[in-house]
Symmetry: C2
Subunit: 614 residues, 2 copies
């Protein structure tokens, strides 16, 4: 956005003044917004493709409806940047995803215009139905609009929402943003079904053809039409029925071109007039208006900073815990036909793309459906297959009951690759992987490993697949292995004790081991010494180990996870003089480094604490 434009824009009363814009002014605004989106994301990282795809839609919504009286619920919220700009947040937009800055998702505490928290997929229809129902109970005639992508629609929660909303008789509008992909390629029958609307003759046209054809038949045409209409239900279910959403009780409008503002506004106005649940299908192009993103929307889904002109990401691709996991799994699968890999729409994020290529028949992208992924894995396991489900820690929360009921009770043998375990940084509070150790610990028959480097990761994966029984969770952080001053000349999957003759012991695991190593080094420089215990298997409380721990005068535990249900809390039962530093609340967005610092879990903070105490 040019500075002049921005200054003028900031003077507006938003979003109300948008209604006064001419279509020409709207066109200019959309261009200016796209410039801002591309520039800001190139600097701050974030979601680009999805936001470029919803510029016109956001504008249309704010011109047809009156937020915050009308409520807009963005599913996932990764497409809400334009909405943020249009609701008075342009001034702070450069703080997007920064510490104390604007969230990359919707956040009611950030603005009245963010009607519901977003981040995890598929909740919008249910949340919007709750809001619309409250409006109805209050005699409030405003509208609630859920905006959901076709990817998010593969989640069972959204189906539950649709199933309940259809009969609700509320002023609920669901905008189905169809863009032919979720995060990786969209999967499942729903996606295929929707794409029919897009790629073949549109439904409406078909319906018109049928009606016209019957109308044009003399004498018999009308009786047929009448015969076919003898029961409204029968007709809807045969000749004139339209979409799956109508089966679910919704009216249906669309599909409309999501980059044609007039068409969009007409469709939304039509939906607004219906006064009962409506689905409006809007076809959009991910990455619209930025060639590199249009060409590779997947790469620009969630992205770090990148060079504006070329679209080249700042950081070249390198190994990460995710890719090492994926490569090792693929290698093991080369020699073992029983290994199957499952992802919930995160083929690239979880590093499974290699496996997908080399073992196509044993690779399953189930869409955004973590519950199904786990139960499906249970089915595979019951037949002797070895299913490995790679999933972000925060999304594994969606499968808690499936782990208990469909896997743990029968002691099914499956391996879960828990990616993005621990603090995740800029994605913020909704995406932190700080609960997995706690909630997995509440389930019998689960073994949890937390490797701190690639070799350990490989060893844990292999042990999990071939030696352990039951459910094995191997958890690892976002990002890559760090050089570490503390090393052994062997690889363990249990624990490692680094003895330096100190009477103070520091216990930790996973990524924090690097932070502790840093502190160890820094302490050494000031003449102080610590012993370090690195846990790798977090589930076993080894008696020998407890005995070792008890021999220390003072014991410090640093843990990158929620305290309740944590390993340190469990160990504290055994060790009286244990001092625990863990996470005691939800964690807001900030870089991983800044977050660890604030939580007292960075190398530097660990150093500071210890140097004053030992």
């Amino acid at each position: 956005m040019t500075q002049e434009y921005e200054e003028e824009f900031n003077k507006l009363n938003l979003p109300d003044d948008l209604k006064k814009f001419s279509y020409d002014e709207c066109r200019i605004l959309c261009k200016e917004i796209r410039d801002t989106l591309i520039k800001t994301v190139s600097q701050n990282g974030g979601h680009l493709s999805s936001n470029l795809g919803t510029v016109e839609l956001s504008l249309a919504l704010h011109r047809v409806f009156s937020s915050p009286k009308d409520k807009i619920v963005w599913d996932v919220g990764h497409q809400s940047y334009t909405h943020k700009i249009l609701t008075g947040r342009l001034k702070n937009f450069k703080t997007l995803r920064k510490e104390n800055g604007l969230s990359g998702f919707c956040k009611p505490s950030e603005s009245d215009h963010d009607a519901f928290v977003s981040g995890h997929s598929s909740n919008s229809v249910s949340a919007a139905l709750g809001i619309a129902t409250a409006m109805k109970l209050n005699g409030d005639n405003h509208h609630t609009i859920a905006v959901i992508g076709d990817g998010a629609a593969t989640g069972g929660l959204s189906f539950e929402g649709f199933n309940n909303a259809g009969k609700s008789n509320t002023n609920l509008i669901v905008v189905l943003n169809y863009n032919e992909m979720s995060i990786s390629k969209n999967v499942g029958a729903i996606a295929k079904y929707l794409s029919n609307f897009r790629t073949k003759e549109s439904y409406k046209r078909t319906k018109t053809i049928v009606e016209r054809a019957l109308d044009s038949i003399p004498v018999i045409g009308q009786p047929i039409k009448k015969t076919l209409k003898f029961s409204k239900d029968t007709i809807k279910n045969s000749i004139f029925r339209t979409t799956l959403f109508e089966d679910l009780g919704f009216e249906f409008v669309g599909p409309v071109d999501g980059h044609n503002l007039k068409e969009l506004e007409n469709a939304l106005k039509k939906a607004k007039d219906i006064k009962r649940p409506v689905v409006v299908q809007v076809n959009t192009l991910k990455g619209k208006g930025y060639a590199p993103a249009e060409d590779n929307p997947g790469e620009y889904h969630g992205i770090g900073s990148f060079e504006l002109k070329t679209g080249n990401p700042d950081v070249s691709k390198c190994d990460s815990f995710s890719t090492v996991f994926g490569c090792e799994l693929s290698r093991l699968a080369d020699g073992d036909n029983n290994i199957c890999a499952i992802t919930a729409a995160m083929k690239y994020g979880t590093g499974l793309d290699k496996f997908a290529k080399s073992h196509k028949d044993r690779f399953f992208d189930v869409g955004i459906a973590e519950g199904h992924a786990l139960t499906f894995a249970g089915g595979l396991a019951s037949m002797g297959k070895i299913p490995v489900f790679a999933v972000y820690s925060t999304f594994l929360q969606r499968g808690y009951d499936q782990i208990i009921h469909d896997l743990a009770i029968s002691n099914a043998h499956i391996v879960i690759g828990v990616d993005r375990a621990g603090v995740v940084g800029e994605d913020g509070v909704t995406h932190q992987g700080i609960f997995d150790v706690s909630f997995l610990s509440t389930i019998p028959n689960v073994t949890i490993y937390s490797p701190s480097n690639y070799e350990e990761l490989k060893a844990c994966l292999s042990k999990g697949i071939y030696k352990d029984k039951g459910i094995v969770a191997v958890r690892y952080p976002r990002g890559n292995e760090k050089d570490c001053i503390l090393k052994k000349d062997y690889i363990s999957t249990d624990y490692e004790l680094y003895e330096n003759g100190s009477n103070a012991l520091v216990i930790t695991y996973g990524r924090l081991f690097n932070e502790v190593s840093y502190a160890f080094d820094k302490l050494k420089n000031v003449g102080k010494n610590i012993d370090v215990l690195k846990l790798i298997n977090l589930s076993s409380v080894d008696k020998e180990m407890i005995k070792e721990i008890k021999s220390y005068k003072k014991v410090y535990f640093f843990e990158e996870g929620y305290y309740n249900g944590s390993v340190s809390q469990r160990l504290k039962n055994e060790i009286n003089n244990l001092d625990c530093t863990a996470i005691y609340d939800f964690v807001p967005q900030a870089s991983v480094e800044a977050t660890l610092e604030k939580l007292g879990l960075s190398g530097n903070e660990i150093y500071k604490k210890l140097s004053s105490e030992i």
Copy 2:
């Protein structure tokens, strides 16, 4: 079943020999099985209506397919009794739901014919897809059959299963058992949609009418038919498309009469020949063949023992924690328009039937969709409503992520009535409510109350609604309040200390307080004394209370919940001399009394332990 018949039947090679039965013999067998079902359930309690509805279906499945090579996955499994009888378990059928007896659900460890664990709804399609996929990978041409009721189909997990299965190209057959109700009345658009098939002209007939009508039109009829068929997709989506399941990629067979064995077998054979995913819709009558159950299938869904001739349940209806909860909530709602009540298909079980009658517009039965219930509640709460979701502890597991993401992060104020908390008895391992304290404790902004009697329940509910912030879980056991020897003349929602001058303190909460009181009394009789601390608020670790606890020489904690993440584990961090008795593994079926005994949590066991130690 007559004794002679049973003896002959037990000599068969099951289920293979069923294929040799004539239809007349089948009819007799079905009658004999119904007799056995009614008799056994009248003695042992269990699910009656659903099992009476699936007698012919079970027989047809075992005649058309060859279990265990073909795999049958029963959703929920509460309709699998006939399947058990047909697969060699008649001899043990009288042990149904008893300790060490047959499970009331499917259990792979009980029989090879139980292909997957069941108990929680909606997992069958996902599990069966896993099994069918493994078969496909193994080059095994057998079939996997999921049997799912229309109630279970309202769960999002089943949608995720359908969405993934449709495109799978496996030998998967989903038998949709349509019986017009789940546990209470079926809800949602899907139910309505399916009932169209049942109550209106069947789809097939409609299709035939259309085709014939077009065929009969001279000259123009064929061209229209051709025009309409110009694109296969367009046609399927307009004129000739059939069911929602076809949209999801399945072939569709039915609906067929679920009590007509021939029709059933023909449909299943047809499905078997298709060699790709098929949905077979089977219409059944819950309670079929037993008049009291046909008339009141809801009452005979899950039932205790009853009198065979009249169908009268043994125990007359009396107050329970559930009904007290429901009545109190209804009373509070009389004076407060903001209170809304939500159930996931458990209106009667959770005691919300009264609320449903008196506050119809604020009562929401969302079907078997716990995730949606919570997110929907979040939407209501965001508009200032006070949603109260009553749900069984074991089913709340399905909403773990929704509690974190859609409620706790924004600190939404909602109340969860956690019913059937703790040991549940005969329903067994899949239904135990032993994880809620642990998993709810891993979430910030959650307050947990565990009242031990009705007055406390009312006080906690009222405090949760009006005084507390964030998420409040009020948990209470199945069954009713017991007379308790330890009493205060006031009601607390924090904790109560019963001081008797002992240097041994026993801490507990909820139902176990009665057990401890029993032990207290029994100890007194042998001249031993204990002090007792009853916790009501399980979330706060009150400093004053900790100080009190620390003043005791020995402290015993008895907890009816899984140890990891438990209150006792947390308290043990503070109290060195704390002796904890909690639950350390999954808990199999047995009466509540026998279960508590085995776990060392009955009054008697507590007495035995303490009398030897203090």
